[in-house]
Symmetry: C2
Subunit: 307 residues, 2 copies
């Protein structure tokens, strides 16, 4: 019976590439671990897998009947498989705040305050002295460029930069920044995509003092891409809030060139959001200069204000 490596719901490139990379590493050291995914892939992730000739991980939603799971890129039960409480968690590899997963038995946890889970997976390869295949190194590198917004995010550390440089060398990629921009151009193609798909593309739920708060993020190379669709996006946030009985739903529209985010908000109490970010909402919107990271700049202040 195999174990599985699985990232969070609404998988991003970090969740998918780390599942592939960890499974390869574990298999190399004699553990039967296979990559899985909890949802459909984004255009950005499809671009990466296509670029490096990698297969999509198996779509698999429950794991109680497996040898166990390695939880990647999250440690909140709400972001993991629905049957996580019935699973054996063998390990957690993550770069976020520590969530509410608990276990009944000892396990392996690699959590570091770095920009991307794949940076930590690279440390695991080094620790076990396992060579990273070229194509997996390329995918890991792209995941780091994605999570760190090509090093522009405040979550980016020197460990991430060094890791990208090492992986680029293994993958034989000379201009990794150009590849990063190509990837973000793919990510920025929002026209023609259903609004709900955009809202959900990188959407995470958080439990904040027993209030359910959903926060989505879209990173584009030019915010003007959204000019025609903000009203539609706002209406859909309202729907997402109602459908999930959420207290608050927010969407961050992040401009990676201007280095800031427009925040769209629907909430039972918008004043909490205004207080958290020390801003004033106009028609449920506010521009947050310098804000690029949901994890580091958006979740903690809101969590503190709710608490």
């Amino acid at each position: 019976m195999p174990a599985y490596a699985v990232g969070h719901k609404v998988p991003d490139s970090d969740s998918i590439c780390s599942a592939i990379a960890l499974s390869y590493l574990k298999t190399a050291i004699g553990e039967d671990v296979r990559p899985a995914r909890l949802g459909e892939l984004s255009p950005e992730t499809l671009f990466i897998l296509d670029k490096f000739g990698l297969e999509q991980p198996e779509l698999k939603l429950t794991f109680a009947d497996t040898a166990g799971i390695y939880i990647l890129d999250h440690s909140d039960r709400i972001q993991g498989p629905d049957d996580i409480d019935d699973c054996t968690v063998l390990g957690i590899i993550d770069h976020h705040k520590l969530g509410d997963i608990t276990t009944a038995t000892p396990l392996e946890i690699w959590v570091r305050p770095v920009g991307c889970t794949n940076t930590i997976i690279k440390m695991m390869y080094d620790f076990h002295n396992v060579e990273i295949p070229k194509n997996i190194a390329g995918a890991m590198m792209c995941a780091i460029l994605s999570d760190t917004v090509i090093f522009k995010s405040p979550t980016c550390t020197t460990a991430d930069i060094k890791c990208v440089e090492a992986l680029a060398e293994i993958a034989g990629i000379e201009d990794y920044k150009a590849l990063g921009m190509e990837m973000f151009t793919v990510k920025s193609s929002v026209q023609g995509t259903p609004v709900r798909e955009l809202v959900m593309r990188d959407f995470k739920d958080f439990n904040m003092n027993d209030n359910l708060v959903g926060i989505g993020q879209l990173e584009v190379i030019d915010l003007a891409l959204f000019d025609d669709m903000k009203a539609e996006l706002h209406a859909d946030l309202q729907a997402v809030k109602a459908e999930g009985n959420r207290h608050t739903v927010m969407l961050l529209l992040t401009d990676i060139m201007q280095e800031g985010s427009e925040l769209l908000v629907v909430s039972d109490d918008s004043s909490i959001v205004e207080q958290a970010y020390n801003t004033k909402l106009t028609d449920g919107k506010a521009w947050l200069p310098g804000v690029m990271s949901r994890k580091k700049q958006v979740v903690p202040p809101l969590q503190n204000t709710f608490a």
Copy 2:
């Protein structure tokens, strides 16, 4: 403002030696981190510090006013500082099941399914390429010998054995097993010690499905040392249970030569304990052959039976 490295309440040798070792490592890489302890030291730990000329960590019970804490040898809030919810947890280094500590910000977590926290700290020294001072290496080695019962505990892994061998070399100790036996002889001197002190020497509380369960353990080289005091120990367990409003209090009397434990139990529902260990209690006592590890052999079955 410094940060602190602190193990669990009722500190054991692993908690104290890892606090000293981590503080030295963090200081070496430029972080101001100091060792602290949440309680008085056991005779075993005093023996180790004396042997290697190390100072006792500062007795310090609250940390909200500090730069943050590294949590060692546990990840359960109940085992940590009383004001843990108001502290910034900078990191967790542990070898137990994952407990209920959560954080608002990203952090560093090193958890491995090995026999001792100090085995993981050694990995951290290797990762950062920092040389371990002779005396700290000796203390780390003793902590591993203590937690793994000189490699006899089922929690002991090859990583622990290799780590002890490497640390013995750094510390210049030729016969580390003899030193281990010397240490366990110190640990075994129970005569003349107040009963409450024995019960509390290595005592941990667990939250099991919202029931408070306290489990103490005494490891000795000969169980006969307790022959005269079992009735007294049992009476004191009853008192500890009442004072702390606990559902169950147990004391493991572990014979490290016979490799098994006598279990003393007081409980609101002894049948849960009998079910967990598939045994029958006689006068609140049972012999559990082969059981040496609270973490691996005592806590998980009880947790499962409560759940």
